[in-house]
C-alpha cells in the first residue's frame, strides 16, 4: 500500500475516532489492562495495595469496561484479516542479515520491556501519546513524538549491526 494513502486512511480513522468517541487511538493501554488483570488474579491483596494497579483492580472493576481492550481485540483481528488477504500469514522471525534468531528475539524482548516501561511513564505509546496527542495539537503529543524518534535516531548509530 502506498504509504501516503495509508497515512491518510490512518488520519481519517483517527479523526473518526475523535468525532465518535472523543478520544484517540491506543494500544499500550490494553497491555496495561491485561497486566493488571493478571496480577490481580494472582495476588489481589498486592494490587489493592499498589496505587498503580489499584484503580484497575478489585471486584468492582472489569477490564471489559475499558474501551481500549476492545480496540486491542479489533486490532488483532484486523491485522489478521489484512495479513490473510495479502497472503502474509505465517510464523516468521524477521531480522537484520547479520544477526541470528536468538539475538533478534532477545532484542525484541528487551525492546518490548523498554516500551512497556516508557509508555507508562509517558502515559501512552506511539499511537496513544504521540499520534493521538499530535492530532489534538497537544504539547505532550509533540514532545513524546520528538523524544521517541529523536532518541531512536541517536541509538541507531550504535546498533547498526542489528538491522543493516
Amino acid at each position: 500500500m502506498n504509504p501516503y494513502l495509508a497515512g491518510v486512511s490512518l488520519g481519517l480513522l483517527l479523526l473518526a475516532t475523535f468525532y465518535i468517541a472523543g478520544h484517540g487511538l491506543g494500544a499500550s493501554g490494553a497491555v496495561k489492562q491485561f497486566t493488571v488483570a493478571a496480577v490481580d488474579e494472582v495476588a489481589p491483596a498486592h494490587t489493592a495495595d499498589n496505587s498503580f494497579y489499584a484503580p484497575y483492580a478489585g471486584e468492582d472493576y472489569s477490564m471489559w469496561d475499558n474501551w481500549i481492550v476492545f480496540m486491542f481485540m479489533g486490532m488483532v483481528i484486523g491485522g489478521f484479516i489484512s495479513g490473510a488477504v495479502s497472503d502474509r500469514l505465517g510464523f516468521k522471525i524477521e531480522k537484520g542479515p547479520r544477526i541470528g534468531n536468538a539475538t533478534r528475539l532477545l532484542f525484541a524482548l528487551t525492546g518490548g520491556v523498554l516500551f512497556g516501561i516508557g509508555s507508562q511513564l509517558a502515559k501512552g505509546c506511539t499511537s496513544g501519546a504521540a499520534l493521538s496527542g499530535m492530532a489534538a495539537l497537544s504539547a505532550s503529543g509533540f514532545i513524546a513524538m520528538l523524544a521517541i524518534f529523536g532518541v531512536g535516531f541517536i541509538v541507531s548509530i550504535f546498533f547498526k549491526r542489528l538491522w543493516k
Binding site: 500500500m1 495509508a6 497515512g7 490512518l10 480513522l13 479523526l15 473518526a16 468525532y19 465518535i20 497491555v31 497486566t35 498503580f52 494497579y53 474501551w67 481500549i68 476492545f70 480496540m71 481485540m73 486490532m75 484486523g78 491485522g79 489478521f80 489484512s82 495479513g83 502474509r88 524477521e94 528475539l105 525484541a108 524482548l109 525492546g111 518490548g112 516500551f115 512497556g116 516501561i117 509508555s119 511513564l121 509517558a122 502515559k123 501512552g124 505509546c125 506511539t126 499511537s127 499520534l131 499530535m134 492530532a135 495539537l137 504539547a139 505532550s140 513524546a144 513524538m145 523524544a147 521517541i148 532518541v151 531512536g152 541517536i154 541509538v155 541507531s156 547498526k160 538491522w163 543493516k164
Partner: protein, 407 residues
C-alpha cells in the same frame, strides 16, 4: 455536534462495538501499511525506508486538518476531546525509553499487535516484553512515580508552548512535513542496496497532492476565528410542538423530591433578577437573570449534557419564556418549574390538609410528602444536602464529560 458518544448522540451502549470496529480498521491499516515488518519500521532510522515517517506524519496532519475544520464548522467540540495531561519530564524520559525500545525491538506496541496477528514471532516476543515492562513499572511504581515530575502540562497546546498562533503553527508543520517527505524520497532513491529499497517508492506524480496540501496550509494560516455558533438551532415548529406538551414541566413535588434525594443531577437555574434572587432562592440554585440567558458564557450551563436544568421564576411565565429561548437555541435537558416559586411555596409549605373522606391514596401520599419536605426545608437540611454540590455560576467553561484515555 460531536464527539457523538460523550454528547449522547450515540447511545453509550454502542461504545464497545464501535471501538472494536475502529480497532479492526486500525489493525488493517497498520498491517497494510507494511508495519507488520520490523525491518521496514526501523528503516526510517537508517534511511533505507521511510514508511514510518511517511505514514505517521501523513496521518497526524490529516487528523490535525480534519479536527481544525470540524471545529471551525461547529461539528466537533474540541474542548471535550481527551488528551493526556502529563509532566514534561515524564513525557521526555518515557519517550526516550520508548525510542531505545523502538530501535532494539523493531516495533512499537500498535505495530507489534498488527505484526503478531499475522504470526511474526519477533512481534509476539516483543508483546511479551511489553507485559513484563508494564509489570516492572507497576512493581516499582512508588519509585517511578514522581521521579520525573516537573512542568505539568494540563492539556497545554503545542502552539501556545512555542508561542505561535494555531494557524501559523499548522501552516509551518505542513510545510516541514512536505520537506521531510521530499528528503525521505531523495534519500530512499540514494540507497545503493536494491534489496533494501522499498517496493512502492514513487518519487514523482505527487504534484497535485502537494499543491492541495499547500493550499490547505495557507487556508489554515489565514483562517479567521470561528464565525458560526456551535449550537444547533432547533426548528420553530419543533419548539412549538415541544412547548405544547407538558413533558418539560416539573411539579413542585418533583422538584422537592429531586432536591432532597438528588435523584438526578439537577441544576436549578433561577432566571429572576439578582435582587429577587438575593432575597430568596431555592437551596443550590444558581442565578442567570432572564435578560442574560443568551450570553455565550452560559451556553454550557444551559446545554446540560449529563443532568437536568430546572428553570424557575416567580410565577413560572418568565421561566417558560427562558425555556422557549434555550430550547430554540438547541440546548437539551431544560425543564420549567410549573407554576413557579409561588406555587412551589404554596404547595410545599401551605399544603391544604386533604379531606379525610377522600380515599384516594395519591392525595394522602402527596400531602405527607409535602409536609415532610416542608419540615426538611425549614430545618435547613436541604441546604446542607446541596451545599456539598458546589453549584456555581460558571464563568469558565466546564468539562461536560470526563472522557477516559487509554494508551
Amino acid at each position: 455536534m460531536g464527539p457523538l458518544i460523550p454528547y449522547g448522540i450515540i447511545n453509550p451502549e454502542w461504545t464497545m462495538p464501535i471501538i472494536f470496529l475502529i480497532g479492526l480498521g486500525f489493525g488493517m491499516i497498520l498491517e497494510q501499511a507494511g508495519f507488520s515488518s520490523s525491518r521496514k519500521l526501523v528503516g526510517t532510522f537508517f534511511g533505507y525506508d521511510f514508511v514510518v515517517l511517511k505514514v505517521f506524519f501523513t496521518a497526524a496532519i490529516t487528523a490535525i486538518i480534519g479536527i481544525i475544520f470540524m471545529d471551525f464548522f461547529g461539528l466537533l467540540d474540541t474542548s471535550v476531546i481527551f488528551v493526556h495531561s502529563n509532566f514534561l519530564n515524564s513525557t521526555l524520559v518515557g519517550g526516550a525509553i520508548m525510542g531505545v525500545g523502538f530501535l532494539l525491538g523493531g516495533f512499537c506496541p500498535g505495530t507489534s499487535v498488527a505484526a503478531g496477528s499475522i504470526g511474526k514471532v519477533d512481534a509476539l516476543v516483543f508483546i511479551g516484553g511489553l507485559f513484563i515492562g508494564v509489570f516492572i513499572f507497576g512493581e516499582f511504581y512508588g519509585t517511578f512515580d514522581g521521579l520525573f515530575s516537573g512542568h505539568y502540562f494540563d492539556r497545554e497546546k503545542i502552539y501556545t508552548l512555542i508561542g505561535l498562533d494555531k494557524g501559523t503553527f499548522v501552516f509551518w508543520l505542513i510545510i516541514i512535513a512536505l520537506f521531510a517527505f521530499a528528503i525521505a524520497g531523495f534519500l530512499e532513491s540514494k540507497v545503493s542496496n536494491e534489496a533494501l529499497k522499498p517496493a512502492d517508492v514513487k518519487y514523482e506524480g505527487y504534484g497535485l497532492e502537494v499543491l492541495l496540501l499547500f493550499a490547505i496550509a495557507v487556508t489554515i494560516a489565514f483562517m479567521p476565528g470561528k464565525s458560526v455558533n456551535t449550537f444547533n438551532e432547533l426548528d420553530e415548529s419543533k419548539v412549538y410542538q415541544k412547548s405544547l406538551n407538558d413533558a418539560h414541566r416539573v411539579s413542585s413535588e418533583e422538584l422537592a423530591f429531586n432536591i432532597l434525594h438528588e435523584v438526578d443531577d439537577i441544576n436549578i437555574i433561577d432566571v429572576r433578577s439578582e435582587a429577587d434572587f438575593n432575597q430568596f432562592h431555592l437551596p443550590g440554585a444558581i442565578n442567570i437573570p432572564y435578560p442574560e440567558i443568551t450570553k455565550a458564557q452560559f451556553a454550557e450551563t444551559f446545554n446540560n449534557i449529563m443532568g437536568k436544568n430546572i428553570l424557575v421564576s416567580n410565577g413560572g411565565v418568565t421561566a417558560e419564556k427562558a425555556w422557549l429561548i434555550v430550547t430554540r437555541m438547541g440546548f437539551q435537558h431544560n425543564y420549567v418549574l410549573n407554576g413557579g416559586l409561588n406555587k412551589f411555596i404554596n404547595d410545599i409549605f401551605y399544603a391544604p390538609k386533604p379531606d379525610p373522606d377522600v380515599i384516594k391514596m395519591e392525595i394522602h401520599h402527596q400531602y405527607r410528602f409535602r409536609q415532610r419536605a416542608a419540615k426538611v426545608f425549614k430545618e435547613g437540611e436541604a441546604k446542607k444536602i446541596v451545599s456539598d454540590k458546589k453549584v456555581e455560576v460558571p464563568q469558565k467553561k466546564q468539562q461536560p464529560v470526563q472522557i477516559s484515555g487509554g494508551c
